[in-house]
Amino acid sequence: MENNELNITWCYPDILNLHGDRGNIMALKRVAELLELKVNINKIENYQDEIDFENTDILFFNAGELKVVEPIVEALKSKKEELDNYIKKGKIIMAIGSTGAVFAQEVMRTDGSIVKGLGYLDMRCIEREYVYGDDLIYRLKDDENMEINGSQIQIIDTLLNDGIELGTLIYGKGNNGEVDKSEGAKYKNLIFTNCLGPVLVKNPWYAEKLIRQAMENKGIKIEKQIDKDEYEIERKSMECIKRFIDKKTSEEKKG
């Protein structure tokens, strides 16, 4: 492996196949190439397949159906020691949408059954009776200048037990709406967000942040700066979305 290589492990792409989230992997590739990195993407297709944690810089889990949380938890349990080490080292894992539940303490299903998660994120997920879909904008807790926008299709509500939120809501439901205005969760560099879009397509600045962190984790500081014009479409998109949200919010207030 060369120093300028970014190694992405794309977990269960066919099983976690919702909401066009494969676009997140495309976005990581695009931004990494803008940073003049060579990108290697390794797919983990089946539950029994081995994950090469040592040669992974970003481990990615896209959004999937809630029913697959349990088999994924079981699959990762068999790799727990390596996964523990990976997380302890501060290496990056990203889980989108309901897949965040894999790393939670537990998920309570509508039928009352409980699915135990891996427990890395100190949070509980509760399956909703009805789906909720809306726009979502939040500000990162560890980088207050960075706003993330997208949408969410909420099948689970998430209650955080500790101050581990990834961000603070600007608009939308986030983890649980008005309860604590939190969005997502973060422990070391294990990140969960409800944000769809795909989130890294709509927010390439966040993809860049993750990539820089991933490279720093292996002692490589990227000097290359990306020309601001490269993200012009995404910035203009966010302006349009904000105008749309302002308009709908004021119409809702008028009743």
Binding site: L18, M26, D134, S151, I153, K236
Partner: protein
Amino acid sequence: MNIKRIKFLIALYIGKILVFLTRLISKERGTNIPGAYANKIQKDFINGFRGINYDKVIFITGTNGKSTTNNIIVHTLRTAGKTVATNLEGANLIGGIATALIKNSTLTGNMKTECMCFEIDERSFARIYEYLPAKNICITNLQKDQVQRNGEPDYIYQKLKKVINPSMTLYLNNEEPRAKSFEDMGCKVFYYGVEKNETSFEKNDFFDVSLPCPKCNDKIKFNYYNIDNVGNFTCTGCNFKSEEKPNFEIKNINFKTNEFECDGKKYKVPYSQPFFMYNYALCIAICQKFQIPADQIQKAFSTFKNISGRLETIHYGSKEIKYIRIKQENPETLQSAFDYIARDSNPKIFMLGLEQLVDFKPYYTNTFYSFDCNVNKLIESNIERYICFSEAVAYDSANRLIYAGVDKNKISILPTDSDEEILKELDKYDCNNVYLVTWLHKYEELIKDVAKIKKAGGKDGK
């Protein structure tokens, strides 16, 4: 006569009056309102109809293909001399079903038709079945659709699973994993499908994905596809797979002469798009149940006209704008639209208006389903100019194309819903071959505005 019967008859009469009145105003409006009103008067109104042979009641449900399949089956049954109550106009909620019963019953609530054939909204299936327990259930496919209401395909899958029971006969798509997996519910099952043919394809792009197995949750591998996400499949984790010999399989398709074989008989058909083949297969399966001979099926196919088509044309000056309708938040219909356009290799302008979603509150700006679609064939089909419009999501729509490799400079991005501005942009380009993909309501706005321009004497109006 008991009170319940009296209440039913009151609801029926009011329903019949509303059918008459709504027909005076608009034919389209009369498809749901009378039944919805009757259901309000009596919750189990549908239960009150008499003379129903449930063995001759057919429900067609699934994400895509319900309307067209319903149209073909009803046309074929009627051509064969059967009387059929139906909801051809697409009113597939409980109000639409009740309206169809009101229209096809006597003043005492006795059904006048021998059979019933309804397309049923997947979400409403359980509620409708409670009052009208059909014995013949057709499941076309269960795919991603309207995520703001449905979330994920498994949400609808579980709802249907609660209702499917051994008293039913199931007609299942052999090449769509979720539909086929209902085979385990203890019902009598008929499989229908389409043989590998010259339009079948494989997906070998690095970013292509399939789906989790509905039985064991491991990866489903498609050996080939006949249409997007439908084709011969095998699960990589269990022994679930397409039947090698489905009961009704369309074979030896000749796309030039529009002919195929099924169950040893030859047919010639008016429409030969690959997705239609599944509709014909299901129709032939249902016809066997009703003992309709092949020559009568052929007679019906020869005269079939697809009233639920999704293609319209707007003439705007020298430009011919071909509009392809897509369903909201439904990647399969968006992919079909892309594939349709890709088959035209002539120079063209492509207009994409994915639009903000305003059917349900909260309104929102989802375009992520466009990343479920493959755009490669589309962008290789000689598109001279792309125009992406929409007040909120024009940039996101454009970005999907850029991710597929389209040069930014070839895309006009219009963050507006103003038809005046959209048409002004279109006027800048000489190419007359134009394709438009957007929601139905946007298309309807556009045809009104084009008509106004023509009325005022512009763009070749008189």
